[in-house]
C-alpha cells in the first residue's frame, strides 16, 4: 500500500479529502463497510457528472418547449437531426483542436495558451499552399504537417523545456507571449484581412431533409482519421507507451530508461502538427484572420477539462459533446446563439467542480 510519502508540491487534481470537507461539518456517515460501490469517490463523482450532463442536454429542449421553438413534426425533427449532426461535425473539428492541447497538458502539465495560434498558423499555411501553389488544402498537409512538427520541437526546445515542472503560471505566460508573437507576425505578413478557401461547397444529403456540407463531412472524416491514427500510435507503439509513461510519472519514466526530454520534443511536435491539421480544416470551413486563434484555445480548454485532462479519448468525446450542446442551445433557446458561449463556459466550470478529473480522468487524490 503506498505509504503516505505523497509527491510533495503541487498535486494535480483535487485536494485530499481533509481539505475538501466543508469546514466544521461532521463527515457524512459512510455506508457500512469500506469498498462498497457507493464508497468509491471517483465512481460517485462520475454519476454526478453524468446526471449533470443529462440535465445540460435536456435544458435546451425544456427551454425550447417553453418558448415554443420545439414542434414535433417531421420537418422539425429532420431539422433537429441536421443540427445535431452539424454539432457532431463541429465536434470533430473541435477534437482536432483539443487533442493537441491534451497531449502537451497530459504529458507535461503545461497549458499551451498559444495552441489557437498554431491552429491559425495551420490555416495560413494551407491558404498559402492553395492560393500561391494551387495545392489542394488536404494534400498540402503532407507538406505542412512536417513543418509544424519541426516548429513544435523548436518551441519545446527553446521555450517549454524551462516550463516543465515549473509552476503553471510560467508555462501559461511563455505560451501566451508566444501566441502574441505569432499573431502580430501573421498580421505583418498577411495583414488582418479575413481569408478563407472555397473548397467542396457541395452538400451531402444523408436522408430526406437531413443534409450536411460536403467540406464539413470531409473535415469530420479527416479529424476522426487523424485522431484515431494518433490514438493507435499512442496505444500500441513503443513510442506511444513511452509518451503515456512520461504522462503518468516523468520521474519513474526517467528511471526506466525513457529519454524524457526526447519524449517532450516529440509530444510538442505532434501537438503542433495536430493543431496545424486542425487549422487546415478551419481554412476550408470558416473565415479566419490572425486574431481568430483565441477562440480555438478557449474551446480546447473547455474540451480537455470535460474529456479528462491528458486523456486522449476523453478529449474526442468531450469535443463532440461540446459541439452538440452548442448546436442544441443555438437552435432551441430563443436568442440562443448568444448563449452558446455561456453554455461552453458553464459546462467547463461545472465539470471542474463536479469532477475535476473530467469524464475519463480518475479523480486524483
Amino acid at each position: 500500500m503506498r505509504e503516505e510519502a505523497g509527491a510533495r508540491g503541487r498535486e494535480a487534481g483535487e485536494l485530499p479529502d481533509a481539505l475538501v470537507a466543508a469546514p466544521g461539518a461532521p463527515a457524512a456517515r459512510r455506508g457500512p463497510g469500506p469498498g462498497g460501490w457507493r464508497e468509491r469517490p471517483d465512481v460517485r463523482s462520475l454519476y454526478r457528472l453524468a446526471a449533470f450532463l443529462a440535465a445540460a442536454y435536456a435544458l435546451p429542449f425544456a427551454v425550447g418547449a417553453w418558448a415554443g421553438t420545439v414542434r414535433l413534426d417531421a420537418a422539425w425533427l429532420a431539422g433537429l437531426a441536421t443540427v445535431v449532426l452539424g454539432g457532431v461535425m463541429q465536434g470533430g473539428v473541435y477534437a482536432m483542436f483539443a487533442v493537441g492541447l491534451t497531449l502537451i497538458f497530459g504529458v507535461m502539465r503545461i497549458i499551451n495558451a498559444a495552441h489557437g495560434e498554431m491552429v491559425m498558423m495551420g490555416a495560413y499555411l494551407t491558404w498559402v499552399a492553395f492560393f500561391a501553389f494551387g495545392v489542394d488544402p488536404l494534400l498540402s498537409l503532407a507538406l505542412t504537417l512536417p513543418l509544424a512538427f519541426l516548429f513544435g520541437m523548436a518551441v519545446q526546445r527553446l521555450l517549454l523545456d524551462a516550463a516543465v515542472g515549473a509552476p503553471e503560471l510560467t508555462g501559461l505566460l511563455i505560451t501566451f507571449g508566444l501566441g502574441l508573437v505569432m499573431i502580430y507576425t501573421a498580421e505583418l505578413l498577411f495583414t488582418t484581412d479575413f481569408r478563407t478557401i472555397p473548397y467542396a461547397p457541395g452538400t451531402v444529403v444523408l436522408a430526406p431533409g437531413v443534409a450536411v456540407g460536403q467540406n464539413r463531412v470531409i473535415s469530420f472524416l479527416m479529424a476522426v482519421g487523424i485522431s484515431t491514427a494518433v490514438y493507435l500510435v499512442l496505444r500500441f507503439s513503443r513510442l506511444g507507451k513511452a509518451v503515456r509513461a512520461t504522462a503518468l510519472n516523468a520521474e519513474v519514466a526517467l528511471v526506466c530508461g525513457i529519454d524524457v526530454r526526447r519524449i517532450y520534443l516529440l509530444t510538442t511536435g505532434l501537438a503542433a502538427a495536430l493543431a496545424v491539421a486542425g487549422g487546415a480544416l478551419v481554412s476550408i470551413q470558416f473565415g479566419f484572420n490572425p486574431e481568430t486563434g483565441v477562440v480555438y484555445t478557449l474551446q480546447a480548454f473547455a474540451i480537455i477539462v470535460l474529456g479528462g485532462r491528458g486523456h486522449y479519448v476523453g478529449a474526442l468525446i468531450g469535443a463532440v459533446m461540446l459541439g452538440v450542446l452548442e448546436a442544441l442551445v443555438s437552435l432551441l433557446v430563443p436568442n440562443g446563439t448568444a448563449m452558446v458561449e455561456l453554455a461552453a463556459y458553464a459546462l467547463l466550470i461545472a465539470v471542474l467542480l463536479i469532477r475535476p478529473g473530467g469524464l475519463m480522468g480518475v479523480r486524483e487524490g
Binding site: E3, R8, D17, A18, G35, E39
Partner: protein, 247 residues
C-alpha cells in the same frame, strides 16, 4: 490500562480503505498523559495512515478518535491542531521558499501576539541550534536540519500531544540524542509524545508504552520488555516458523 482523565488519546476500531486496499483495519489503542509511547510495526502496517486519521488529514471509514472525551473524526486538521495535537511528517514538509523564522511563525496559534510568538520561536530555534539560519530559506537547510525545524515548528503551540513520524529517520546520532533529550524534557513537563519509529534501540530505550500494528490492526500493546517477548509481535516481524505455517 486506567481510564478517564489520565488518557490523552484513545483510538477505537479505526478503519480506512483506499479502493479495495484496507490500509487501517481495526486499530485500537490508548496513550496515557505524560508518557512517551511508540507505534511500531512492519512496513505497510498502516502506521502513518493512522497518524493521518488522528490528525484529520484523512477521514476514517469507521471508528473514533477520542481526545478529552471529544471525537476528533470529521474535524479539519487545523481544528485538531488547535486542540493541542501537533505532528511532524515522515518526509519533512518545511516551507521551502520561506525563511526558517517564517516557518516557525506560521505555526504560532492565532491568539498569541506578535512579540510573544517571536520570542517563543527564537527560544525553540535556539533549542534546536537553528538560530544562525533564521534568515535563510528552509529549503536550503540539510535534511537533518529540516527535521529539527519541523520538530521545533510542531512545538510552537505548546501542544499537549506531539505525534512524531520517524524522528530518527535520516538523522545522525548526536542530533537524534539531542532531539530525544528534549522529548524527555517535554515528558517531564507533563506533555505526551507518540512516535512512529523503526529503530528498535530507540523504542526500547526511550518508550514506556509500545503499540504494535500489523496489516492495519493493533495486535499488541504494552511495556517494551513485554512486547519484545510477545509471540505475535515476533511473528508479525519475522513471519511464522516453518512448522506452524500450516495451521
Amino acid at each position: 490500562m486506567s481510564r478517564a482523565d489520565d488518557v490523552v488519546l484513545e483510538v477505537r476500531d479505526l478503519r480506512k480503505a483506499f479502493g479495495g486496499v484496507r490500509a487501517v483495519d481495526g486499530c485500537t489503542f490508548a496513550v496515557r498523559r505524560g508518557t512517551i509511547a511508540a507505534l511500531i510495526g512492519p512496513n505497510g502496517s498502516g502506521k502513518t495512515t493512522t497518524f493521518d486519521l488522528i490528525t484529520g488529514l484523512r477521514e476514517p471509514d469507521a471508528g473514533v478518535v477520542l481526545h478529552r472525551g471529544e471525537n476528533l473524526v470529521g474535524l479539519r486538521p487545523h481544528q485538531i491542531f488547535r486542540r493541542g495535537i501537533t505532528r511532524t511528517f515522515q518526509v519533512t514538509r518545511v516551507y521551502r521558499e520561506m525563511t526558517v523564522l517564517e516557518n516557525m511563525l506560521s505555526a504560532a496559534p492565532l491568539g498569541v501576539p506578535g512579540r510573544e510568538a517571536r520570542a517563543r520561536a527564537a527560544a525553540l530555534l535556539a533549542l534546536v541550534d537553528l538560530t544562525a539560519f533564521r534568515g535563510e530559506y528552509a529549503g536550503r537547510l540539510s535534511y537533518g536540519q529540516q527535521k529539527l525545524l519541523e520538530f521545533a515548528r510542531a512545538l510552537m503551540p505548546d501542544p499537549e500531544l506531539l505525534l512524531l513520524d520517524e524522528p530518527a529517520g535520516g538523522v545522525n546520532r548526536t542530533l537524534l540524542q539531542h532531539l530525544l533529550d528534549h522529548v524527555h524534557r517535554l515528558r517531564a513537563a507533563g506533555k505526551t509524545i507518540l512516535l512512529i519509529e523503526h529503530d528498535m534501540t530507540v523504542v526500547m530505550a526511550h518508550c514506556e508504552w509500545v503499540v504494535v500494528m500489523d496489516h492495519g490492526a493493533t495486535i499488541a500493546a504494552g511495556p517494551p520488555a513485554a512486547i519484545r517477548e510477545d509471540p505475535r509481535v515476533i511473528e508479525a516481524y519475522f513471519g511464522r516458523r516453518p512448522a506452524e505455517r500450516g495451521a
